[in-house]
Amino acid sequence: MTPPPRTEERVDCSHCGLPVPAGRVEIGAEEQFCCGGCRIVFQTLRSSGLGEDYYALRARFDDASGAEPARATGRSYEAYDRETFQDEHVRRIPGPDGAPGLAQVDLLLEGVRCAACVWLVERLPKLIPGVVEVRLRMRDARVTIVYSPEHVALSRIARELDALGYPAHPPGAEEQRELARRAERGHLIRMGVAAVCAGNAMLVAFALYSGREGGIDPSHAALFRWTGLALGWLSILWPGRTFLRGAWAALRTGTGHLDLPIAIALVAGALAGTWNTVTGRGEAYFDSLTVLVFLLLVGRYVQARQQRWAADAVDLTRALTPASCRVVREAGTPRESTEEVTLDELAVGDVVEVRPGEPFPADGVLESGRSRVDRALLSGESEPVAVEPGDDVHAGTQNVASVVRMRVAEVGASSRVGRLMGLVEEGLAHKPPIQRLTDRIAGVFVVVVCGLGVANFLLWSVRADLATAIDHTVALLIVACPCALGLATPLTLAVAVGRAARSGLLVKDAAVFERLVRRGRLLLDKTGTLTHGEPRLVQWTGDPAARADVAAVEAHSNHPIARALVRDLEEYARPGVRAAELEERLDGGVAGTVEERRVRVGSLEHLAAHGHALAPALRPEADAMESRGESVVGVAYDGRPDGVVALASLADSPRPDAAAVVDSLVARGWSPEVLSGDVDGAVDRVAGAVGIEHAWGRVEPEGKLERVRALQAKGEVVWMVGDGVNDAAALAAADVGVAVHGGAEASLAAADVYASRPGLAPLEELADLSGRTMRTIQRNLGLSFTYNAAGITLAMLGLMDPLVAAILMPISSASVLVLAMLSLGRRSRSRASTSGDAPETSSGPGQRTFERALPGI
């Protein structure tokens, strides 16, 4: 029997709109759901009477809102009610006159994507009595909840958010966030002060300029000059202090810095302007100076903001890793109970229950249960390892097969992950410093300008008098200020960070763009980076009709092999056909009844134990699969004599785009190498498949870090790409570290760039974007220097009028900006036309990239 061709219309999930897997379709039901999460959310919404409005609103925004299935986890969140959590995260607001007060808490939410989410989350006070106010901030998916602890428990609020499809997580790194927030406010305040000074200084300067033509009362002129003087000094001493401080630091360390020429112009202009104001002759330069301060601050603010946005998105991804676990109290006694605790509360000696699909919270020893452990993120091994009571398990690995209990032996810094994090810090400390291109140029620039200034001064004091010489030299110093450069470079970098985010790359440090235009060594991790990090169906041999039955039987299993089979056999599944009487066995087998056939899927040993022998015809196939290092799964029907009717082989195969991306990066001058913790055979196979010559297997985390340092010692630029905890130290030490989609929290924290989109294509885009960004910056440099050269020439000839300077400066800034924007605009159009193979890259507004920053857990 062959499976019927799929002529049925695709069934969409009633909540998220994604196609419903055939094995989950319920014939005749009005609502269809792709997963349990969507069902819970849909039912919660309908029972609360918010469903209709929510779906209408979401349809109106027509966003990518339905792109992911809802993830209602059904956790109890009881840890949120305990004192340790409350003390750390909940702020009390005392009520008036001894009345019971309110409490305020910040939580990070998973799954926030569009305006409808804001609407829904902020309706929480209607759903739960006792919740006073809810504000959701979309940028970092942070919700601030004010509630009355007398009336409602925090866990109840968290459960409700969870049921709406927004699992809540406690925010981490508060001090850092507070610092960043203060820094951003400081930026805004300086910008505001600079804007008021610049506006009013221009006002009085205009009066003076027009007075020069039309005549002006000397007492009025003096008033204008003194007002300009006050505004100018205010601007330089308050907002402009940033530049003076930067320049001072650069002077002390003897390095070049962009702040240096800026500070020279500011100080020279202000001193000369003050002298001229006091003596009542010559020109005051305060209009140009204040505008200069303002424009430069705008550029820096925009860059800082964009940068922080990218860092926030990465932080959010990190915060979304589960931070709680279930501790079994009084294990083994009749009074046994489980309790949800946060990881901070976990103590040595606790017994923790870990369900399939959950990570182990700490290092310890398995107490009861047998399972398989996926250690890909910790060690790079691609095959899950079988564990039984007495075996060590480590934090950062994942339980795959069945519920187990472990006794905690190490927590925090002394655990294996903790020690690896120590290694990350070591890696960061050794990260080679980079002197920014603009700073290097600024260093040379300052020397040249000072030389010209001295020459100019001497020349004019010989040709004319001292006062003229001072006048012309000050004009030269002011006009030589590289303001176009100081404005255009941060803006170009900000746009580049934004563009990178749009194609799924969160860049935490814009210096990455500069480092990547140099060529060097590309180090790639294998498991999870070059490969999917999970098994995929490689080959199917035998009865093709069995594929549909396998898909139906495995649809409800959590095992990675089952998930792989469901995903890869989905197209053969018959809609509405569901397996009944499911039975999942720990020895690696699943059985279920599909249309009255009893199907058994599992390892060959499992099938043999149930009396299904492997037909001699299939034996060579099975041997070949096993010799290739693939996992072999057999299919048999109970009550039929033909034994094993089909074989499926699964392996962690390279990503489809890996070979092409590696090729294109090699063509750009990078020499690739594979560094993996997996066994040599598997590493060589994958390296061969993607065309990389140099591959190292069984590399410990220390070994990866060592390799990075060794290459750097030889003067090579090292670009490291990885996903695991074992890569984190190397990512931190490398010149550019990229953590790929699905990576461990540690690797996200250590890397400079996080690729929030699966696959290796982002690497190619990052290399492209770096090249384009640096070309734009260089073009800006050229243009900016053309203006400066023209200005300096005019000043040296003594033709530079303050009015000309006041006009020239904004024009140069504006033209550099326009040029940057134009080249960026052209790029985005050409990109949209060439990115047909990756539909995500052509997507629109910033918020959607944010959504992609959320991990698929």
Binding site: L136, R137, R139, R185, L188, G192, V196, L203, H220, L223
Partner: protein, 51 residues
């Protein structure tokens, strides 16, 4: 005495007042979130009898 002696300080006072308002808003955190208010504004308010 020219009117300019009144108008110029007045302009400065107005500028200063605007600056003070801006600083107050920044310190109150009104510029911390520049994305959500734009969205919140298009969401319809609840009608009372909606409950």
């Amino acid at each position: 005495m020219s009117v300019i002696y009144i108008v110029l300080p007045l302009a400065l006072v107005l500028g200063g007042a605007a600056l003070a308002a801006f600083l107050w808003a920044v310190r109150r955190g009104q510029f911390d979130d520049l994305d959500t208010p734009a969205i919140r504004m298009v969401l319809e308010d609840d009608v009372e009898n909606d409950r």
